[in-house]
């Protein structure tokens, strides 16, 4: 026996054996099924029970014990509740694979549903609802009908959920037998837990039918609000989630709901708090009373902050939701930025979300403190987190005009650390800052140019090359700098090649001297003849034609003034935000995707691993990057289209690649 102190403790507590179930897992020898079969048919009760335990243990570790079906079902008629539960568990797992034999169980189920012991009545109904075999379902209706009106609330609360189970198997039966009306009656039940389960069942049925099954009217609303204070924490969540669907008639109606729901914010259960916030946020729109809304915002802040002292996984759910909530009502946590400062030992997923919220809450008032934090994070160990911290500084610079300089100074300090990935990330964000504030901070280019040789990531290289091209007239040795990149032109990634091409054209247009002219010649030749990428070739041809036909027009196009950018890529559009706010606490609010985007009605057997990762990646979109004149959107266009274009170009060949700059 592998009995441990726990076993002993339990033994004392429950006056019997306990904690030695481990031995049931130990048999792995051949002929095991046969042996179990024999034991199941044993007359010795103890042996029989042990055998069922062995079967369940085998089931747990994934062995197929479905062949024992008749023998296990034979053990069903027993006074021993523990044994009965095990047999029921077996039935739930295997009934579907043995539908014809499952019928053997019906009699016992029906008998159990009339047992004087309410626990057994409930158990029978609960289990029958889980067995999706037509023949069993047929026999479920009568017991269910009785149990919905059972004198014992424990049975009624179980029966309520069973109606939802039955609806999933056969909506017709539920409607024909009038179960929906009975379920609606249970909303007025005297027992809060019955009410809560009825609400859960009705809400679920409503989601799966086009008919009007569960509409909260004034009367129901009153019932639900009354039950809210009485029922279990889980029941409160069911009710609050149902209330979140209720459309208040007018401001007064909304007010009275908020008044009853607000105390829930003090509940220790995070799901109750979030569902409460969901209801209140919705009603605030209806109330539309600035004074009151202000007071409510003040009330919601502290409970949300408190969620951050829960388990890290709960913190994560809370942070994803807070991200949404403050987009709608920024005042809720405007003064609480400090609580989102990262702790050194926070899990990385918590840190990342905290950072996101810090960026949202950063303002000219608190930016000094925030920058100190970001700088600290930029020296931590986790590379992804460090990068995100550097990005965060850039995003603050873009969002807060008056603090931009302070942000840039921090970025320059970070560049001085010479940590490779910090430098590269900083250069990427500085490019965006240049786009946001043209002609203000170009003095720092010199510092950037000192770090050219550390760049080895395409994005950083592309950013730096963009900067060189864009400011070629202010960089004395722009020519040389580009030259160093051009040496490896053919080996670079497409992103870098595209930027090199454009930058070289810019350099030439700004400084039409011999050096740049030679360069452009080489680049155009290489891009059109030695590289297979249609996007690049295409862009090169466009430049080539422009330059050879009308260099002035080329200037207008390539050196055109670019619109300044804003950092709105992290904001959700208002319709989407409203939809997600209506789903606070749910997976939709964690993914920041509407439910339709990830809930499929049809069953997908296997999904490729590549498809699975989609969820996390889509949020990584950054500030609109250097979309230069020939927009890189062509890269995203379907390949077929691009090749078509190429075909046209080929049919109508350009003038032989002679010197494109010779006067036309």
């Amino acid at each position: 026996m592998s009995a441990m102190p726990v076993g002993k403790r339990l033994a004392r507590k429950f006056g019997g054996m306990g904690g030695d179930n481990g031995r049931y897992f130990s048999t792995t020898k051949k002929g095991e099924i046969h042996e179990m079969k024999e034991e199941l048919n044993s007359l010795d009760k103890g042996k029989k029970k042990d055998a069922v335990k062995k079967v369940i243990a085998a089931m747990t570790v994934g062995k197929d014990v479905s062949s024992l079906f008749p023998d296990v079902v034979n053990c069903m008629q027993t006074e021993n509740l523990e044994l009965k539960k095990l047999v029921y568990l077996y039935l739930i797992n295997y009934a579907k694979s043995q539908p014809d034999l499952a019928i053997m169980a019906v009699n016992t189920f029906v008998k159990d549903s009339q047992d004087p012991n309410p626990l057994i009545r409930a158990l029978a109904v609960r289990t029958m609802g889980c067995i999706r075999v037509d023949k069993i379902t047929e026999y479920l209706c009568d017991p269910l009908q009785k149990c919905l009106k059972d004198e014992d609330p424990y049975v009624r609360k179980t029966a309520a959920v069973c109606v939802a189970k039955l609806f999933d198997i056969s909506p017709e039966i539920v409607e024909d037998r009038g179960f929906l009306d009975m379920l609606r009656d249970l909303i007025a039940d005297s027992n809060p837990m019955v009410v809560a389960n009825a609400v859960a069942a009705l809400s679920e049925i409503q989601e799966n039918t086009s008919k009007n099954v569960f509409q909260i009217g004034a009367h129901t609303l009153y019932k639900l609000l009354a039950a809210l204070n009485e029922c279990t924490e889980w029941g409160q969540v069911f009710i609050l989630d149902a209330l979140a669907k209720y459309n208040a008639k007018d401001a007064r109606d909304a007010e009275s709901i908020v008044e009853r729901v607000a105390p829930r914010l003090q509940h220790a259960n995070c799901a109750v708090v979030l569902s409460g916030v969901k209801v209140i946020l919705k009603q605030m729109d209806v109330m539309n009373n600035p004074e009151m809304n202000k007071a409510l915002c003040k009330k919601m802040g502290p409970p949300l902050v408190t969620l951050l002292s829960a388990e890290p996984e709960i913190q994560y759910v809370a942070l994803r939701n807070i991200n949404l909530i403050i987009q709608k009502r920024p005042t809720i946590l405007a003064n609480d930025i400090k609580v989102f400062f990262c702790k050194y030992n926070d899990p990385i997923y918590v840190k990342m979300e905290k950072l996101e919220i810090m960026i949202r809450l950063a303002s000219e008032r608190n930016i000094d403190q925030v920058l100190l934090e970001f700088k600290e994070y930029a020296t931590e160990v986790d590379v992804d987190f460090v990068r995100k911290a550097v990005r965060a500084i850039g995003r603050c610079a873009i969002a807060l005009e008056r603090s931009a300089e302070a942000c840039i100074n921090v970025l320059l300090e970070l560049i001085q650390t010479k940590v490779n990935y910090v430098v590269q990330e900083a250069i990427c964000v500085i490019k965006d800052i240049f786009r946001r504030y043209p002609n203000q901070y170009e003095t720092i280019i010199a510092t950037l140019c000192e770090n050219l040789d550390t760049l080895d990531e395409p994005e950083a290289k592309a950013a730096m090359i963009w900067i060189i091209g864009e400011y070629a007239e202010r960089i004395d040795n722009a020519d040389e700098l580009l030259e160093t990149f051009l040496e490896t032109f053919l080996e670079e990634s497409t992103m870098v090649q595209l930027q090199l091409l454009t930058a070289t054209v810019k350099l030439f247009l700004k400084r039409p001297t011999e050096g740049p002219q030679q360069k452009i010649q080489t680049v155009l030749n290489q891009a059109t003849q030695e590289i297979d990428n249609p996007d690049l070739r295409d862009r090169a041809y466009v430049y080539w034609r422009l330059l050879s036909t009308d260099p002035e027009a080329a200037k207008d196009v390539v050196l055109a003034e670019k619109p300044t950018i804003a950092d709105d890529s992290h904001l959700l559009d208002s319709n989407m935000l409203e939809e997600l706010l209506a789903n606070i606490g749910t997976l939709a609010s964690v993914y920041h995707k509407p439910p339709e985007a990830f809930v499929s009605r049809t069953r997908i057997a296997v999904t490729r691993a590549a498809d699975l990762e989609g969820a996390e990646e889509e949020e990584e979109e950054e500030v609109e990057s250097s979309a230069d004149v020939p927009s890189s959107s062509a890269a995203a266009a379907p390949v077929a289209q691009v090749t078509d274009l190429m075909g046209n170009l080929m049919d109508d060949p350009l003038p032989a690649p002679v010197d494109p700059f010779a006067p036309a």
């Binding site: 054996m17 749910t586 993914y591």
Partner: protein
């Protein structure tokens, strides 16, 4: 189905293998755990996010000791509910078996199946209160014992399960009626190297242990500002009033009543429970000040000087103080001198660990260390200088200043109750408090 928690629950070991599982809806199968094992556990991808999409299902998981608790759903389930549920399942099993780990789950799988049948119905959480579940879900031998007098016991159980006072059973009798109340505060501190407090707060909880007969009604009074103001008037003794940022209560506390007249009234469950949690950011008395001076001499030598001063009253003392001073990975040797306690270099955690068993109030202690490094050429990046971390417990001290003003007990029987109140302030990984001092 915004209030659904799970279509199935799996308890898995750290290799991602099933220890026990239970499905509640037909769409969930055993093989989903394989997706979790291969794509998350084996891919060592558990740190990205605790909510993932795999194989068309949504996976939510937590880790507790050497066990992963995993729930899957197909629809837009309530994630907050799912996580809270999982946390409570671990607590429930802990209360049954005294611990929650792979071995105890395997050894009690029959009972766990019974519990899993009771805590979720079709994916909707039902009853997770250990006190109530223990009434009717027990080991077999007890079952047969109850069977003799089946009727009354089970009827009573079901009524209590669903009743208004779902957390307390009837007919509890104690010879001696006692209540123990512990105020336990965890301090969080984030201090810059220069000694500026970047962030400090205190999360506290009131743990109550009740050995009371019958159905007692309790009322609790604290020295917090809001409660006192609502009672009409401020504290006459002129003592400090505490401003709580937020409070959350156990299910047993009447929230509506708290909302209207700020009164904490409740019928307690039997035995131990967490009555209330609170959070305070203003006016926290930090029990320790830490002054680190860390100098890097070239690439091979670091000099650490750490001074710690206790700020609580001289009569009190802290116990179990552990100071963790981080050093670089390539540390070869450390020579440490301390004015009290013991210190040594811990290579596994890359830090110097200084332990002081008993740290009196109003005292300053110091540690100085010389750290020699192996010079490496590969280590290009400068040392990140992680923060210094403190662990401690200060009995008889609340960093917030919170006190219990009264605890009243009413019961039909009109018995006398013996009440005990204790308090402690603490920090450290095991207690939730995070006392951090940055070095850079």
């Amino acid at each position: 189905m915004a209030h659904l928690a799970a279509s199935a629950i799996y308890l898995l070991n750290l290799r991602g293998e099933i220890i026990i599982y239970r499905t509640y809806r037909s769409e969930a199968t055993r093989s989903l755990a394989d997706a979790f094992r291969t794509q998350i556990v084996q891919a060592k991808d558990t740190a990205t996010s605790p909510v993932r999409q795999l194989a068309g299902f949504n996976f939510c998981y937590i880790r507790c000791n050497n066990v992963y608790v995993l729930t899957v759903t197909k629809c837009n389930a309530n994630a907050a509910l799912a996580f809270k549920f999982m946390v409570q399942v671990t607590q429930l099993l802990k209360s049954y078996f005294n611990k929650f780990d792979e071995e105890s789950i395997r050894n009690n799988f029959v009972l766990i199946y019974e519990l899993l049948d009771e805590v979720l119905d079709y994916g909707y959480p039902q009853i997770l209160s250990p006190d109530i579940l223990k009434l009717y879900i027990t080991q077999s031998s007890v079952r047969s014992f109850i069977d003799k007098a089946k009727e009354p016991v089970d009827n009573r159980a079901t009524l209590q399960v669903t009743g208004a006072v779902g957390h307390r059973r009837d007919g509890i009798r104690y010879k001696k009626n006692e209540v123990y109340l512990d105020i336990i505060e965890s301090v969080n501190l984030l201090m810059s190297a220069k000694g500026t407090v970047l962030r400090s707060d205190c999360s506290g909880k009131l743990m109550m242990k009740c050995f009371l007969s019958g159905m007692p009604d309790l009322k609790l009074g604290l020295n917090d500002k809001l409660t006192l103001e609502s009672e009409g008037g401020t504290s006459k003794t002129g003592s400090k009033l505490i401003e709580l940022d937020d409070v959350t209560f156990h299910q047993c506390v009447n929230l509506s009543r708290f909302h209207t007249d700020r009164c904490v009234s409740f019928v307690p469950p039997d035995g131990e429970f967490e009555l209330m949690k609170y959070r305070i950011t203003e006016g926290i008395h930090l029990p320790f000040r830490v002054l680190p001076i860390i100098k890097e001499h070239g690439r091979t030598r670091i000099e650490c000087n750490v001074k710690i001063k206790s700020t609580f009253p001289v009569k009190l003392f802290a116990i179990g103080v552990v100071v963790r001073v981080p050093v670089p990975k390539q540390t070869a040797r450390a020579t440490i001198q301390v004015s009290s306690g013991k210190a040594k270099y811990n290579a596994a955690d890359n830090c110097l660990v200084w332990k002081i068993r008993r740290f009196p109030g109003q005292t300053e202690l110091g540690m100085s260390a010389e750290v020699e490094l192996v010079s490496t050429t590969t280590e290009k990046k400068a040392w990140a200088r992680p923060p210094i971390n403190l662990e401690f417990q200060v009995p008889m001290f609340t960093s917030s200043g919170l006190r219990v003003r009264f605890l009243k007990v009413w019961e039909k029987g009109g018995y006398n109750t013996v009440k005990w109140v204790r308090c402690v302030t603490r920090a450290g990984a095991d207690f939730g408090g995070n006392y951090e001092i940055r070095c850079s």
